[in-house]
């Protein structure tokens, strides 16, 4: 038996012994996610047990190094673990911006001390992070951000406002882009700062979206004092002073890859044609609405081609071929496709898809999801920004 086969066998046995039955229902969706954090209320005892056991193994973030609380697993091992969890319909024990965003940034740009200080708390779900990038006047043109960060000797003084801060009202800490040098060109005076949300002068205000939900906030900094060192030797700035844009760019690429890879999950379960057939019905074996049938078939073709492109890009990366900026292409196509997909799901749902409240529709689950997808092509860099990046970096068109 190869090492990987042994690993698979042991992993399966461990999961069988340790994953509580209640956590094996394959439940996804934002309502069932365990986000962790200081104020986290576990939805069940099983959710708590599951997190603790997985964190103990380092398997909440299996690919991170062991010394920082990860599992130290190889890519192949991570794939096996994920596959076994999927087969068992095990829920993810923990999701967070710490895992998705801050962790990768610290691993690449942080000092050893910063990693030792911040990463283990993320893997155990003790600290919940949020991301402070956009500002009211810095959206697509992110680098024009103005949130002021002044050097006051032993501390930084932060004044300004962030917007679209996901779950800021529930987060413990924020990683933030701030302007530390207003005199240089806009990309060169930005730093990547870590702030405790409990600090005096930090306040948040949820923003109600068209979906009726409020996953985003406005975050205000009013004379917030951030110590230069959060603990002895633990700097509050990640990367070099005034070089925060490098960190931000790295994270944005990472975010795009994640958003487009998430596209793969969209195809789990039933296809659009199958859903439409069950909702609208068949005539002589064909979807009773021929115009919708054609639109769905064409969308399925594009969706399939997109998935195969994700696969090909992964394979090309493994083979050392491929283009880095393709993450922009995948982000652009994947999010535009997802919007199109939800339009078609709404089309086939008809009037029933329009119900906003009531048990029958789980309080308008589809309608709210449909509205949520409209943000896909805005967040993480708009479609137009992605097209600009493709034009500039891949096609090398002039003046872009």
């Amino acid at each position: 038996m190869s090492d990987l086969e042994i690993f698979r066998k042991n992993t399966r046995a461990w999961l069988e012994d340790n994953c509580p039955t209640e956590m094996r229902d394959g439940a996804g969706g934002e309502d069932n996610i365990c986000w962790g954090g200081r104020n986290w209320q576990f939805q069940s005892e099983a959710q708590k047990t599951w997190l603790e056991r997985m964190a103990e193994k380092g398997w909440t973030v299996p690919a991170w190094p062991k010394e920082y609380g990860g599992g130290g697993l190889s890519k192949e091992e991570v794939k096996i673990l994920k596959g076994e969890m999927r087969d068992m319909k095990a829920r993810s024990p923990l999701e967070s911006f710490g895992i998705w965003m801050l962790g990768p940034a610290l691993l690449k740009y942080g000092t050893h001390e910063q990693k030792l200080h911040f990463l283990p708390a993320i893997t155990r779900g003790e600290i919940r992070w949020c991301q402070g990038y956009s500002e009211p006047n810095a959206g697509s043109d992110l680098a024009s951000l103005q949130c002021k960060c002044e050097d006051k000797g032993d501390h930084w003084l932060v004044n300004g406002q962030k917007v679209w801060t996901s779950y800021a009202d529930e987060a413990d800490w924020i990683f933030c882009l701030v302007r530390t040098d207003p005199k240089v060109t806009k990309h060169n005076g930005i730093s990547f700062l870590l702030i405790d949300m409990a600090a005096e002068g930090v306040s948040t205000k949820p923003i109600k979206l068209i979906s009726g939900k409020s996953p985003f906030c406005e975050t205000f900094f009013d004379d917030v004092k951030v110590p230069k060192e959060h603990a002895p030797g633990i700097g509050s700035i990640v990367g070099d002073l005034n070089r925060g844009w490098d960190v931000a760019k790295y994270l944005l690429t990472h975010e795009r890859e994640m958003i487009s890879a998430g596209g793969g999950g969209l195809f789990g379960g039933r296809g659009m044609g199958e859903i439409a057939a069950s909702e609208i019905g068949l005539e002589d074996g064909r979807l009773a609405d021929p115009m919708l049938r054609g639109k769905i078939a064409q969308a399925e073709i594009d969706g399939w081609a997109f998935l195969l492109t994700l696969e090909r890009m992964k394979d090309e990366a493994k083979a050392g071929q491929g283009v880095g900026a393709n993450s922009s292409m995948l982000k652009y196509y994947g999010t535009e496709f997802n919007k199109r997909r939800f339009e078609l799901l709404m089309d086939s749902g008809g009037s029933e898809a329009l119900e906003w409240e009531g048990e029958r529709t789980q309080d308008g689950k589809l309608a709210r999801s449909w509205l949520r997808t409209k943000a896909n092509s805005i967040e993480g860099g708009t479609s137009e920004v992605q097209l600009n990046i493709i034009a500039k970096r891949i096609l090398q068109l002039p003046g872009a």
Binding site: A277, A297, W304, L395
Partner: protein, 379 residues
């Protein structure tokens, strides 16, 4: 299997690109057109391709072929798409070679495959009878006649039918037009009594023909595969052709796109390169994305033909539909972005638009394949 070319396949691609750029650029197709060439391709060039193993790319080594598989054939089709090279590669080396390899008996393979590998015989596949693709609509009759059959009916849009030595033709031995059962493939000598052909000069300047069969006699030995073998056998062969056409369109679209991007970087208006205008940049970037999707799905279709030939129907439809739409978009954007010069005959881009139009129609356009996919997926 990883969705990338193997080293061997990459070497084949590089060799093909070098050869075609030198020996068969777009100017060669232009010359064939301007001289009203009767054959529709250069026989000398085809001979050279055969010597490099291209004609027998799908043929087993026992019959003098290279046995390089569908991905290998697709690599060549894509490269020929880049240069719009006219050759009987699709009709003979993909369609006929697949039909003979997959359906032919020993004697048929023995007789025909070595000639295909050597570039000595040109084949044509005659399926469609109406202006839109529909193998199931086959009406041409193959009536029992003594121990054999008599074939009568008309075929249209037969690639290389004007010069083929042999014709593989779909005819009805049972059932009525629209039935999936009752279709049989026959291997007919193009010189047989009762075969009449009319060359159709097409928009892409490539060779095609309308064929008339008037009581053409065939024996049981001329049946390719099973009598009443139905659509299944024919669809397998058509799938190979569809993937080949997808690969060809992918090559043509990529070439047109590259030319267009070069033009955006050099053409100046309003005091700057027109490629600096965001209106064009966004369209170019969108087209780039679509081309990447086309490449993925085309490669997957070819790989699946190699690995699960009988199961490749959906993916070949996907590839044909996607490549048809994307290649059309690429040629349309090319002409628009080139502006007036794109409309001139002197300039090559029009040749791409014309060939892509023909290739996307052949063996089913995007609508045909989207509908086929929906039917196969149960809606």
């Amino acid at each position: 299997m990883a969705l990338v070319l193997t080293e061997e396949q990459q070497m084949l691609r590089d060799a093909a690109r070098g050869f075609l750029d030198e020996k068969a650029p777009v100017s060669a197709l232009r010359k064939l057109r301007d001289t009203n060439d009767e054959t529709g391709f250069s026989r000398d060039l085809w001979k050279e391709m055969a010597e490099m193993g291209w004609a027998g790319i799908l043929v087993g080594e026992d019959y003098g072929g290279a046995d390089f598989g569908f991905v290998g054939a697709g690599v060549l089709a894509e490269e020929m798409g880049r240069t719009l090279t006219a050759s009987p590669f699709l009709s003979t080396s993909i369609l006929a070679a697949t039909a003979l390899q997959k359906l032919g008996g020993d004697a048929q393979r023995q007789e025909h495959l070595p000639k295909i590998s050597a570039g000595e015989a040109v084949f044509a596949l005659a399926v469609d009878e109406t202006r839109k693709h529909g193998p199931q609509k086959t009406a041409m009759k193959a009536e029992k006649h003594g121990n054999g059959f008599k074939l009568s009916g008309d075929k249209t849009f037969v690639a290389d039918g004007q010069v083929a030595d042999n014709i593989i033709v779909a005819a009805r031995t049972a059932g009525a037009p629209g039935d999936a059962e009752g279709i049989t493939l026959f291997l007919v000598d193009a010189a047989a009594k009762g075969v009449a052909r009319e060359r159709t000069v097409m928009v892409d300047s490539r060779g095609a023909a309308r064929l008339k069969f008037d009581g053409v006699e065939a024996t049981g030995d001329d049946v390719l595969g099973e009598v009443d073998g139905g659509l299944v056998a024919l669809e397998g062969v058509l799938n190979a052709g569809r993937a080949g056409l997808a690969a060809e369109m992918s090559g043509a679209a990529q070439a047109a796109f590259t030319m267009t991007m070069d033009y955006l970087k050099e053409r100046k208006q309003f005091g700057t390169e027109i490629g600096a205008f965001q209106a064009l940049q966004h369209r170019a970037a969108h087209l780039y994305s679509e081309i990447e999707l086309m490449k993925s799905v085309t490669l997957k279709a070819l790989q699946d033909l190699d690995e699960h030939y009988g199961m490749a129907g959906i993916i070949c439809s996907l590839a044909k539909a996607k490549a048809g739409e994307v290649a059309k978009l690429a040629s349309q954007e090319a002409v628009q972005m080139y502006g007036g010069i794109g409309m001139t005959d002197e300039f090559d881009i029009g040749f791409y638009m014309k060939r892509i139009r023909v290739a996307q129609e052949m063996f089913g356009d995007a609508a045909f394949h989207a509908d086929r996919l929906a039917a196969m997926r149960g809606y």
